[in-house]
Amino acid sequence: MAYNDHAADAHDHDAHDHKPHGWRRWVYATNHKDIGTMYLVFAGISFFIGGSMAMLIRLELFKPGMQFLDPQFFNSMTTMHALEMIFGAVMPAWTGLANWMIPMQVGAPDMALPRLNNFSFWILPFAFTLLLATLFVPGGGPAGGWTMYPPLMLQGGAGFPMTIFAIHMMGISSILGAINVVVTIMNLRAPGMTLLRMPLFVWTWLITAYLLIAVMPVLAGAVTMLLTDHFFGTTFFTAAGGGDPVMFQHIFWFFGHPEVYILILPAFGIVSEIIPTFSRKPLFGYEAMVYATASIAFLSFIVWAHHMFTVGMPLAGQLFFMLSTMLIAIPTGVKVFNWTATMYKGSLSFEPPMLFALSFLFLFTIGGLSGLMLAIVPADYQYQDTYFVVAHFHYVLVPGAVFAIMGGIYYWLPKWTGNMYDQTLAKWHFWLSTIFVNVLFFPQHFLGLAGMPRRIPDYAVQFTDWNQVSSIGGFAFGLSQFLFPYIIWKCVRGGVRIGNRAWEGAHGLEWELPSPPPFHSWTEPPSLALIQRGAAH
């Protein structure tokens, strides 16, 4: 088709592509890319808000003795930091990436349910405004930990019902987002895009979406019971009325353990995209990767009580949860081995996305190994609720989930903008992040083993040295993160133009589209040849 032939049609075509401009483009957004962008911006803002709370925590813990914060405010900082980072930063970042990439990767024009998509995003700013507003009401923000264990949580002030309402809204948003992902993947795949040709990011997100739909209602139920215990005289979790405070923990962790896989499975997907690209070699053991992801998702439902080995469970229960937890090491090991085998006999280059993926590979493995140690119940009696646990889950969540998100953004940003970003600056961002994340979290292993409990605003003086190292690492890590929005902003504003395929070794349908891609990604389904070229595994 020559352009001239369609000069007359061009206007119609434009009309078809018509989108509102200015603020209406965002408030009324139904386009998957616009909504994906909003999710990512929202996640970035939450990352800095949650991060500034972490900075306050590390500031108070720089020295023994209370210097800056009231202990109650300190507790609300640890609680809010977790809620901001989990529900405000990591989960919306994954949904943002899903919005941007899934339609492009499966050969669809958009997400299946665009208006629902708009709604599920716009719930979030209200939910988090409400959550942050608790800091300014009598009694302050929630201070019982993000795990919200009763009876402590029931002692909350005016912020208590606000927190619960905020969590309900976040849960609704997540469920709607997950439904959209499932429907898009199930119904909008291009002809020929069979399930076992889908990119692993799509696969891991499909499984994540099912986990979300399964467990977010469980969380909603748990917090609703807290609410009725507090306001309507029920005694679900109050022993004096025949209830059971430990039951909350069982319900919470039945949500909470799949939740940690909700945070990490899409990371597995992204790393499975990046490593083959920069190894110039297809993913090793594609099907094994899919089955391992599904196994991890299944196991995530039967290991919850390993978070509560010290509550006094029967011996048989402790044995069961120890053994089922150890089983998770097997599919996780399969994934790590397959990524390693992908690099073996490849042709590696080290652009920023690959650097972040490699950092993920090493540091997530460290977090996985400390997780294996935590599974051993008698040893867990010594680890439980110490900084060893803090080190463990930050290793899997920061250089795990967060680095994978950053790697994913560095991987696809040229596709989204059509411009290559400043790779030198991005490498600075990578090295500063990787070095200081270890300075920040590695000493916390020592602190925990030496006996420092978690969630304390002050500590015995023998813990001073490693806490200072950790705090210095924290401040440096925090400062380094300002490079990230700067690099993105600079790239959005301009840069070296790139073609369809931003990276030499990249495969997949998104790289067959122009950079930046058209407003409606695949208005016509991609051909079978394109699909097969993308799914070269």
């Binding site: 003795g65 202990p71 507790n75 002692q155 006999k345 400390s370 119940v377 008698p378 030496a450």
Partner: protein, 289 residues
């Protein structure tokens, strides 16, 4: 067999630790690892911890070794050509599934054996009930009438206030000292009954390898048996977030010889139930003076 493995791994651990930079083991930079503790159980837990630690180090060395080898060998900048046919191997997948299963089974056995022992509460010789509250502990020696509260000591409490102006490094055992410690005999199987009267707390003394939640409305059990030759003061903390002053809720255990303990208990009984002052009930056991 298992005990041998555990003691060996503890020995290996000690060797490994000795290679680390020399430092005082009980302060600052030298605080790198779990304490071996002063009970047979805490040493067994330590052995298990070190077994898992070295296993993880071994796995990490192998896996990271292959990763680093690949990263340094198969570089495009060194002219590496990708072998794009190397994408699947059922044999390899089976090997790296079976091998971890074997390792896990091998570690599950000592873990389960130790766990079963921690749950064996038979033949205890002394029972103490600890009740957590916001923020301290109440200890009751069952059937003896001795019952007292144990809270953060005054010196720590004064120093820990926001803007107290007190240099906390000058406070002895800052945040790890109480006004009245729990006193127990060494060489005795002591059973702890743990509960709470407001929110959930957790009773943790690292040197005993004991951490158990104290939950309102429920009674949990735990036990320890301190080595007969290791009387002394052992310190721990509440390990479950319990509100504003969770970080200021230490546990101190004063382990004494059984004779000293008996004398202490008798003195406590006298102090708590002083002999009646009126002449109609002269206390036979009251010391005359």
């Amino acid at each position: 067999m298992m005990r041998k493995i555990l003691s060996q791994s503890a020995a290996v651990a000690a060797l490994g630790m000795s290679l680390l930079p020399a430092a005082h083991a009980d302060s600052g930079w030298g605080l790198l690892n779990m304490t071996q503790g002063v009970t047979a159980m805490s040493r067994q837990i330590y052995g298990l911890h070190m077994l898992m630690f070295w296993l993880c180090v071994g796995i990490a060395v192998v896996v990271f070794g292959v990763m680093f080898y690949s990263i340094f060998t198969f570089r495009k900048s060194k002219g590496a050509v990708p072998d794009t046919t190397l994408v699947h191997s059922t044999t390899v997948e089976i090997i790296w599934t079976i091998l971890p299963i074997a390792i896990l089974v091998a570690t599950a056995v000592p873990a389960a054996t130790t766990l079963i022992k921690t749950e064996d509460l038979r033949n205890s010789q002394l029972t103490i009930r600890a009740t957590g509250f916001q923020w301290g502990w109440n200890y009751e020696y069952l059937n003896s009438g001795v019952n007292f509260f144990s809270r953060l000591d005054r010196a720590s409490d004064a120093a820990r206030q926001l803007g107290s102006g007190i240099d906390v490094t000058t406070v002895p055992h800052y945040l790890l000292n109480v006004d009245k410690p729990l006193v127990v005999p060494v060489g005795t199987k002591v059973r702890m009954l743990l509960t709470a009267n407001d929110v959930i707390h957790s009773w943790w003394v690292p040197a005993f390898g004991v951490k158990k939640d104290a939950i309102p409305g429920f009674v949990n059990e735990a036990w320890f048996d301190i080595d007969a030759d290791k009387p002394g003061l052992y310190r721990g903390n509440c390990a479950e977030l319990c509100g504003r002053d969770h970080g200021f809720m230490p546990i101190v255990v004063d382990a004494r010889s059984p004779e000293d303990f008996k004398a202490w208990l008798a003195a406590e009984q006298t102090a708590e139930h002083p002999p009646a002052a009126d002449a109609s009930a002269p206390a036979a056991s009251a010391p005359s003076n």
